[in-house]
Symmetry: C2
Subunit: 356 residues, 2 copies
């Protein structure tokens, strides 16, 4: 495909902070942005040229959206299959493609796909009932973690099962929905790899980053990650494989657990820009947001060189009330997402620090 020229319009599904930062990056490249979101007054819509407020299953609105944009991407993986289908039927390109979205939005498919590509995961089993759960526990053993296959994020829809006895009622506790039981990994650290693949199949990778979570939510990312070059290469190779297999276009993130021996266990993938890549705004030659826009617009990928040691911390919920402190800190790059209400667990902003 030929590159979308300046003045083209990027369509983004979702109105949150990722859409907002994608929109900012698109604007710097002379591209317009249209947001599609069910949310009124969304963070992304406030920095975009156009917004359609609609349900992700509203065919008429999706068709209108498709007509006004030159490509559609998404800030979240849980795009209903019919949404992508409606957009494609209306004649617009969707990047990354629906297959990538489908794999990433179902934990069972995702892990099966990882294994099929030689990428190790924790042991897992499909669970569609309490009986399934007990059988799976017998196979995998406790402790283990029961997760809904779909729509889980930031620790939602999960139940830890510490012993066989603790399984009682667990399937109901996660809503009696199709689920997956995953064995516990005694990992040393968590890392993620962020790669990009362009329309011409060129790929580029950011340096692997190390992540800390609190309460199931990313709290801190730092680079360099305390992993060997072999482990870093292995992560990059996995991302490359996944992107090739999916004929992927855009930025893709894979989160891994790192075991004591340096082995990687893939946890999940995100077919999009990712919280653990926010450091790239100041810390890399090209931000993940610009990189994603370049990829889906058919532009050449940008340079991914890391410019400094870097730390990114999330401002979760009431953390954001300390914005004055961060604004005063000359070493802190403060990013706030324009969310009207502070709620526990809500990502309100982030702070990046570089050690040059």
């Amino acid at each position: 495909m030929s590159a979308l020229p300046p003045g083209s319009t990027i369509g983004i599904l979702g109105g949150g902070q990722l859409g907002r930062m994608l929109a900012n990056a698109a604007a710097e490249l002379g591209l317009d942005v249209a947001i599609y979101t069910p949310e009124q007054d969304s963070p992304a819509s406030r920095v975009a040229a156009h917004t359609i407020v609609g349900d992700y299953r509203d065919q008429a609105k999706l068709t209108a959206f498709a007509k006004r944009v030159d490509v559609v991407t998404s800030e979240f993986e849980n795009v209903p299959a019919e949404t992508a289908a409606a957009l494609i039927a209306a004649g617009v390109r969707v990047a990354p493609n629906p297959q990538a979205l489908a794999v990433a939005q179902d934990r069972l498919e995702e892990k099966t796909f990882f294994n099929a590509n030689g990428i190790a995961t924790a042991p897992f089993a499909e669970v569609n009932s309490q009986a399934d759960l007990e059988a799976a526990l017998g196979k995998i053993g406790a402790p283990a973690i029961l997760k809904t296959r779909r729509m889980g994020y930031d620790g939602q829809g999960q139940a830890r099962i510490m012993s066989a006895a603790g399984a009682a009622g667990a399937f109901d506790r996660i809503g009696a929905r199709p689920a997956i039981l995953e064995g516990f990994c005694k990992f040393e650290r968590e890392v993620s790899i962020i790669g990009a693949r362009g329309a011409s199949a060129a790929t580029a990778f950011y340096d692997i980053c190390e992540n800390e979570h609190a309460g199931g939510i990313l709290s801190r990312t730092k680079l360099p990650a305390a992993v060997s070059a072999v482990t870093a290469d292995e992560a990059q190779r996995a991302a490359f494989l996944i992107m090739e297999q999916l004929d992927y276009v855009g930025v893709l993130t894979i989160e891994f657990f790192v075991m004591a021996n340096g082995a990687l266990i893939a946890n999940e993938m995100a077919p999009r820009v990712h919280n653990s890549g926010h450091w790239t705004i100041e810390g890399a030659a090209t931000s993940q947001f610009e990189q994603h826009i370049r990829a889906i617009a058919g532009w050449p990928l940008g340079a991914t060189a890391q410019l400094a040691e870097v730390e990114m911390i999330n401002l979760i919920g009431a953390d954001v009330e300390h914005w004055r402190t961060y604004a005063l800190d000359e070493d802190a790059h403060l990013h706030l997402y324009g969310k009207r209400d502070i709620r526990p667990g809500r990502k309100m902003g982030h702070v990046t620090r570089l050690r040059r």
Copy 2:
């Protein structure tokens, strides 16, 4: 004043690329933006939450704009005095203040103000008629340059007078408007200093930059500038003085000529972010756009450290047709302004290169 909290709205007069980059910077700080511009579909309005399209003398629309914003700033100095007055009458703060705008929009007042603060300028004289012009030429000598006092930018409204004979008809050629005759400076180079002053009177300065013009339009900025530390300090001192005298809040730019002996001759000031400061987006710890937003929002100023040697080139008119070449250049940070039509002399974008 207390700092405007996230969620506040920054009002910007003007819908061009400076407004667009200010809006992007405001969004990163969690602030909303409202644009006031006479232009439909302006570059800035496409990245802002709100836009009012109206004439700068439309009192009703200005009042409506004032009601929806928490502070008003401008991307250009030629804001009519009655515009600022109407906004202030409607109860909103205007930063920088109308006095600073008034000084900067009149070449005669500006140069008089420079001299009154001990800042050297080229010799100049007021010209309100052809007879004034001839008298001024007798005093200043040729070559000299006749400029309208108001509304000139990028070389517009100017006539070079190379000899006494060349003065014939010159006053009519610039539109027979109130003007100023300026003596020619045989300068070695052009530089600019960009400073900022916060609401608490704190100041911060970027490193002095060296500028090249072509056809009266900035074509290239580079750092470090080839000037001595003494000259750089002198420029900073001048900017400090001007900001203090005007009780200035925001980013201010002063352009100077540098003479062979290192002396500075002030050319003009811009009470705003400036083309010669675009390098700060990638090349400084805080961009001039974020700095201006911080200042007018009553936030602490950000760090101004220069991060690398840097070169910024403007994409003027058809230059922008080479966007694919710049997109391919891994060392180039490409910025495009979202202007629909390419016209000769029109600033369409810029490219920044860092040598780390």
